[in-house]
């Protein structure tokens, strides 16, 4: 009886096992990476019908977010502005800025015909998620925390995964993102730039108590204000207790 199987086949079962494990691991890693919002959503950068540049308008001109997204503090939606908002500056019979630009032809047309421009949605929550902008921006969460450095984006890009676990990360530890109300739309904000005494005064400290707090903070966090310090103080004093119940977002 001849030897049907060459010698190397003795190792075959092991090789198959190793290969199976590696392929399995590969698929798992691949799926978790390529099929989660971290990959599928982050970096989504659709072309808009009018090449509006946030980098120019926010970064250079210095427009506040709320100039265009005017209802963000009262409504669930951070509205995309009406065409009128664009036209007020760019209209030939209004602000006259770049009034003949090719790129703004659609804005001028929309003004004339009344047919609105259809913008492409970048950040999309599923239908069963009821995210509310107003409660976040009114309670110390900056635009930047969810939308990234919009002031540096030529074309708006999704910067964060905005998945459920990402939402919960912040709801469980909001101190990582809280900042003073006047800094909400400041996209270049750094906690270190805050004046410590002013910050504590704003929180309601007075006199001796204020001095003590500032001194204690200096001792604990160093000369510069840190995010941990700002976040924890705000969380405590404003009683920020983000809900983790289902009904917070699903109704």
């Amino acid at each position: 009886m001849g030897n049907f199987f060459p010698r190397w086949t003795n190792w075959l079962p092991l090789q198959i096992a190793i290969a199976a494990v590696m392929i399995g691991a590969g698929i798992t890693v691949g799926l978790t990476y390529y099929f989660t919002p971290k990959y599928t959503k982050v970096g989504y950068e659709p072309t808009q019908p009018v090449p509006f540049s946030h980098k120019l308008h926010v970064g250079q001109v210095g427009l506040d977010c709320r100039y265009c997204h005017s209802h963000v503090e009262v409504s669930a939606h951070a509205n995309v502005p009406t065409n009128q908002t664009c036209y007020n500056c760019h209209g030939p019979d209004r602000g006259q800025i770049k009034k003949d630009s090719e790129k703004l032809a659609m804005v001028r047309d929309a003004e004339k015909t009344g047919v609105p421009i259809q913008w492409t949605k970048v950040h999309k929550a599923p239908d069963y998620v009821y995210f509310n902008h107003s409660v976040h921006v009114n309670r110390g969460v900056s635009c930047q925390s969810c939308h990234g450095q919009v002031n540096e984006m030529e074309v708006v890009r999704q910067a964060e995964p905005q998945s459920m676990s990402w939402c919960l990360d912040c709801h469980r530890a909001p101190e990582k993102n809280l900042r003073p109300l006047e800094q909400i739309t400041n996209l270049t904000y750094k906690p270190g730039d805050l004046d410590r005494t002013a910050f504590y005064t704003k929180l309601g400290f007075k006199g001796k108590q204020l001095e003590d707090s500032v001194a204690r903070a200096e001792e604990k966090y160093g000369a510069k204000v840190t995010q941990e310090e700002v976040g924890l103080q705000i969380k405590d004093h404003w009683r920020i207790a983000p809900s983790e119940s289902c009904t917070t977002c699903h109704r």
């Binding site: 669930a76 047919v115 949605k121 069963y128 404003w238 119940s245 289902c246 009904t247 109704r251």
Partner: protein
């Protein structure tokens, strides 16, 4: 594992509460259903399903999978668009709802309401709390929003069935008007429903002036000619009587369903029920006596009720008049009633005498009412009684109204048509004269085709009248048009449009303006898609309303106008009081006409035709919410049936609800399914009207049987053609399947209502809290380690383990429902449907027990409990009735939560039992484990697939739901506009249930946080700022909802009421919803044999 509830054995004493006869007699079929989510008998396959066999299913799924394979290749992120306005729209903030005040025109006046709109589309209606007569809304007003989005609405003007542009109609009008100007409008007839609109009155007056020979006719299908005639004869013209229930201590109703379908004002329910909810024993209550042939909602809340046939009502009225005449010393009244009263039985006299004494003892605070279906004799006697009791000016407000134009009845129109005096009828009524008014159609059909008048029909959808009309014009909904109305007491309200007419319709006022030449249709450029809404100044309909407003407000005043639009009414505009003199001389003459009658017997039945609780007079036939809302008494959906007493039912040898009978009366006959209705008078049949229409929509087409042809067939009394006598009723053989919900979702067969007499309440205020098992069961010791009770040591329910709900920082929601105030009208059921995007499921699915309503309106009958379980016919002759709405009780220790394998239902920190739809995998364990059976399962994509149509799939005719992916998928686009954007539209395979309107709670919390910002002391929302949809809709104000952690909130006050009790408290679920026991104000002198033990024990047997 299914938790087994160890309910204690029942004993056999006290009173028994039951919802159906099967439940009463503990029939084997019923015993099977007990404690189960679904009736097991129903889960067997129907013929329809059997046909769609497994093999077909596999075939279909194969096809579907192949299709899915094709579409998968294009698996990319879908491109979503954002389309902002080009110009800012005042007040509109995307994502925020806007509320407007307006009013719905009603037969008696108006329903003042607040309209919730989202980005310009109305989605929900609720009562206007600012309005002096603002309470909740009734079921019809609540459901009327769906009519706005009905896909079958008329969309174009049409001439002889051919679509025409409005300009073509204008050409026709120009020609008509040219002719009318020449001959003064000879032969022109306008047919309308009576309206309280002052603008309408002005336009009609102008019309009459412009075309003096044209005639104006008004009619209501369910007319009150008898009442009008009696009123005119005894009190004179231009007088309106309005019962004032706030002042009435004792009310006696003669077949008048003033709480339900015979209502004459929008405040009747609120005012009457307010005085039936004592907070402590010293609180006084009103008292209600009623005589009626069938159970009505008014009968259900009454303190004393006696079923008698409608034919005997005149006799009963005469007896009452005679007794009262004797007691107050009114010989005229005595004399007028003596002859008629002579025919009364001793039993009837014995029942009425103590009630009459009670009325006279409260002279000046007593009120007697008669149903509008009764003729002059009854109405005149009742006016006489009220006069003798000193009710005018006290419990009955006498108001002066002046129409301002001359109006004729539809009977005269019939005569005029037959006399060939009419050449053109313009029908602008909301009802459908060719369907609901036989005389109108007959008079036209009698004429030869060439002599028939031309008809122009302004209608919201194609109806019977449309079929015989030349011109059919689309009518605008009241939410699309300018108008004004006056509520029952005359308070002036403006009806303002919420949205541009969706289908190009015009209102009746606009049609009048067109006919008057004040509005013209011009060619409009079709190109502009975003045409700006017409400014009020340029809209002739708005102009007309403004002109009326200026007249009533005493001059055009922009501030007043704007305030009226904002608040929904103009203060101080009630009708002036009229001084009345009672003309008693005519009384005897009128009653003499009612002397000839025969009491119905087993051979000669009486037939009573009534308004329907879902369709009213038939005008709501195309509204699916109303069609699916169970009748408050019979719990029947999607059909009508002949109601009869169990005694008559047995005598006719009928065995099952739905057995067909043939009713023959006055040469007319009708085959209709019968239904056994406890509490119905014997030898009497009640048939609700409004059904059997041939409609163009799948919703209303051929539902039930049309009883209008019977009207007037053999009525004994003048002007009471809805009461027929001498009918023969026979078994027709065969059974028609009725979809009745009374056995769906039973709660272990144990009634959960508690009630007592006022006497009992006075002796023991807290009787409800320690009644039944709660009287002797030891407190529950729970092994449940979840959160229970409160963390606030000051509260009664302080949890010593320190694991209580956070009452110090969070809101804690709770609800109380007052059974003493609840009338069982089901307005809350529809309000909930509107607010929470609850789909309709269609008749087949209802019959399978799959109705989706989050609120189940239980209707219980109660009888003295004997030793055996076979109800005697005597017991079923006159049981008492109680209604109880049951939704999710939001248990703190919720049995549903512990069994969910995927944590799809869990508790929130503010005490809600939350439901995460996208987590639910549809095991239905929770529904199975809910002792209140408050959970509903989506067996199909009811929201996506129309359950009312059938479909042909691979040659098999099947219901659209069963056709799966091959069926017709999308529900009609336009109905989507009604959906509330703040509530998920659920899909197939998930459980849903009452959420305490969590979207409203979250919205209030978010708004408050946005206001508080960095001020942590302001995080609590203002007291009672959140109202649930059911609460806002309740016309009786029987529901209160609020924050238990806020000491000042109304819900805490109600929970402290001694009548408060929890349903199924002994199983330890700790529900957040509790109920207040019902109190009946019983007169001890009444010979009520039927209820010797009223409210002595309320849970079966304990």
């Amino acid at each position: 594992m299914k938790r087994v509830w160890h309910h204690p054995e029942e004993s056999n004493s006290g009173r028994r509460y039951w919802r159906s006869l099967g439940e009463y007699s503990n029939a084997p079929e019923f015993a099977e259903k007990v404690g189960r989510e679904f009736d097991p008998a129903l889960s067997t396959m129907s013929d329809d399903e059997r046909e769609t066999s497994r093999r077909d299913f596999v075939k279909m799924m194969g096809g579907a999978a192949a299709l899915a394979g094709i579409t998968l290749t294009s698996c990319r992120r879908p491109l979503a668009k954002i389309v902002p306005f080009t110009k800012h729209v005042e007040w509109v903030i995307p994502g925020k709802s806007l509320l407007y005040a307006t009013s719905m025109p009603r037969p008696w006046g108006a329903s003042p309401m607040v309209v919730v709109t989202h980005e310009g589309r109305p989605t929900h209606l609720q009562g206007n709390p600012l309005h002096p007569s603002g309470a909740g809304l009734d079921i019809f007003a609540q459901a009327s929003i769906l009519d706005l989005y009905a896909p079958e609405r008329a969309k174009h003007p049409a001439y002889k069935g051919k679509e025409m542009p409005w300009t073509e109609f204008q050409t026709a009008v120009n020609q008509w008007v040219g002719d009318w100007k020449k001959d003064g409008g000879t032969g022109v007839a306008l047919l309308l429903n009576p309206s309280s609109s002052a603008t309408r009155a002005n336009l009609l007056a102008d019309f009459a002036k412009e075309y003096p020979k044209a005639k104006i006719y008004e009619y209501e299908p369910l007319h009150k000619r008898g009442y009008d005639a009696a009123l005119k004869a005894l009190l004179g013209d231009s007088v309106k009587l309005l019962p004032n229930f706030t002042k009435a201590d004792i009310v006696f109703s003669l077949d008048c369903d003033f709480i339900g379908l015979d209502t004459t004002s929008e405040t009747a329910v609120r005012d009457f029920m307010k005085r039936r909810a004592p907070k402590q024993k010293s609180d006084a209550m009103n008292r209600l006596y009623i005589l009626e042939n069938r159970y009505t909602l008014t009968g259900g809340i009454s303190d004393h009720r006696l079923p008698i046939t409608a034919v005997e009502i005149p006799v009963a009225t005469a007896v009452l008049a005679e007794e009262i005449g004797k007691l107050v010393g009114d010989p005229a009244l005595q004399k007028a009633s003596a002859a008629l009263a002579g025919g009364a039985s001793a039993d009837l006299r014995a029942w009425i005498a103590p009630a009459a004494k009670d009325l006279v003892d409260s002279k000046g605070k007593a009120l007697v009412l008669a149903g509008p279906r009764h003729g002059e004799a009854v109405q005149a006697l009742v006016l006489g009684i009220n006069n003798a009791l000193g009710s005018f000016g006290a419990t009955i407000e006498t108001l002066k109204v002046d129409l301002g134009y001359k109006v004729a009845d539809i009977i005269e129109l019939k005569a005029d048509i037959e006399a060939k005096k009419i050449s053109h009828v313009l029908v602008m009524a909301e009802s459908d004269p060719a369907y609901d008014s036989g005389e109108f159609l007959n008079s036209i059909q009698k004429l030869e085709a060439s002599a028939r008048p031309t008809l122009t029909h302004l209608t919201d959808r194609p109806k019977a009248t449309t079929k015989i009309s030349q011109w059919a014009l689309p009518q605008a909904h009241y939410l699309e048009s300018w108008d004004d109305v006056r509520s029952a007491d005359g308070c002036y309200s403006v009806v303002q449009p919420m949205i541009q007419p969706l289908f190009n319709g015009i209102s009746a006022n606009e049609l009048l303006l067109v006919l008057l030449g004040r509005k013209k249709f011009a060619e409009t450029a079709k190109a502009a898609p975003a045409a700006a809404p017409a400014a009020p100044e340029t809209d002739p309909a708005a102009e007309a309303v403004k002109a009326t407003f200026a007249k009533i407000a005493g001059g055009a005043n922009d501030e007043k106008w704007n305030n009226t639009l904002r608040d929904g009414f103009l203060p101080g505009t009630s009708y002036p009081a009229a001084a009345v003199t009672f003309n008693g001389g005519d009384l005897a003459g009128i009653t003499a006409k009612a002397l000839e009658y025969a009491v119905p017997t087993g051979g000669a039945f009486e037939v009573v035709l009534t308004a329907d609780a879902s369709l009213y007079d038939g005008r709501y036939t195309d509204n699916p919410w109303l069609q699916e809302a169970p009748d408050p008494i019979t719990k029947l959906t999607w059909d009508n049936a002949a109601w009869m007493s169990p005694r008559t039912f047995a005598a006719l040898k009928l065995t099952k609800d739905g057995d067909l009978i043939e009713v023959k009366v006055g040469g007319k006959s009708l085959i209709i399914p019968a239904i056994s209705a406890p509490g119905h008078a014997a030898n009497s049949i009640t048939i609700p009207l409004g059904y059997g229409q041939s409609s163009s929509s799948v919703v209303g087409n051929e539902r039930g049987k049309n009883a209008y042809p019977l009207a007037g067939a053999n009525s004994v009394f003048t002007n009471s053609e809805f009461i027929l006598s001498g009918a023969s009723v026979t078994k027709a053989g065969g059974n028609y399947e009725l979809a009745i919900t009374q056995d769906n979702y039973t709660m272990e067969g144990r009634a959960q209502v508690r009630e007592g007499t006022k006497d009992r309440f006075d002796k023991d205020e807290h009787f409800a809290a320690h009644e039944g098992l709660d009287s002797h069961a030891p407190p529950n010791i729970s092994l449940y380690k979840g959160r229970i009770g409160s963390n606030d040591p000051k509260r009664k329910d302080y949890n010593v383990d320190g694991n209580g709900f956070d009452y110090l920082h969070e809101h804690q929601w709770g609800m109380v429902i007052d059974l003493s105030k609840c009338i069982g009208c089901s307005a809350c059921v529809v309000a909930c449907q509107s607010e929470n995007n609850i789909p309709i499921v269609g008749k087949d699915q209802v019959a399978k027990g799959r109705v989706m309503h989050w609120i189940r309106m239980d209707r219980y009958f109660s009888t003295p409990d004997g030793l055996d379980r076979n109800p005697t016919l005597d017991e079923l002759d006159n049981p008492e009735m109680v209604s109880q709405p049951v939704a999710c009780q939001q248990c703190e220790s919720a049995p549903c939560e512990t069994v969910c394998p995927v944590n799809a239902t869990v508790h929130t920190e503010d005490g809600l039992n939350a439901m995460a739809y996208n987590r639910c995998i549809g095991t239905r364990y929770c529904a199975n484990n809910c002792p209140y059976t408050a959970r509903r399962f989506n067996w199909f994509d009811y929201n996506k697939r129309n359950p009312l149509i059938t479909n042909k799939v691979a040659g098999i005719e099947t219901n659209n739901l069963y056709a799966g992916p091959l069926g017709e998928k999308s529900q009609v686009e336009v109905t989507k506009l009604q959906k509330n954007p703040n509530v998920t539209v659920r899909m197939r395979g998930v459980i849903e249930k009452c959420t305490y309107c969590v979207q409203r709670i979250e919205s209030a919390k978010i708004t408050q946080r946005s206001i508080a910002r960095d001020n942590a002391s302001q995080l609590r929302i203002p007291t009672d700022a959140v109202k649930t949809a059911c609460q806002a809709s309740c016309p009786a104000e029987a529901i209160v909802f609020g924050d238990l952690a806020n000491e000042k909130s109304a819900v805490n006050e109600w929970k402290d009421n001694p009548r408060n009790y929890d349903v199924l408290q002994y199983i330890g679920t700790r529900p957040r919803t509790s109920y207040l026991a019902r109190i009946r104000n019983v007169n001890p002198l009444m010979p009520d044999k039927r209820n010797p033990k009223t409210g002595e024990a309320s849970i079966n047997g304990f």
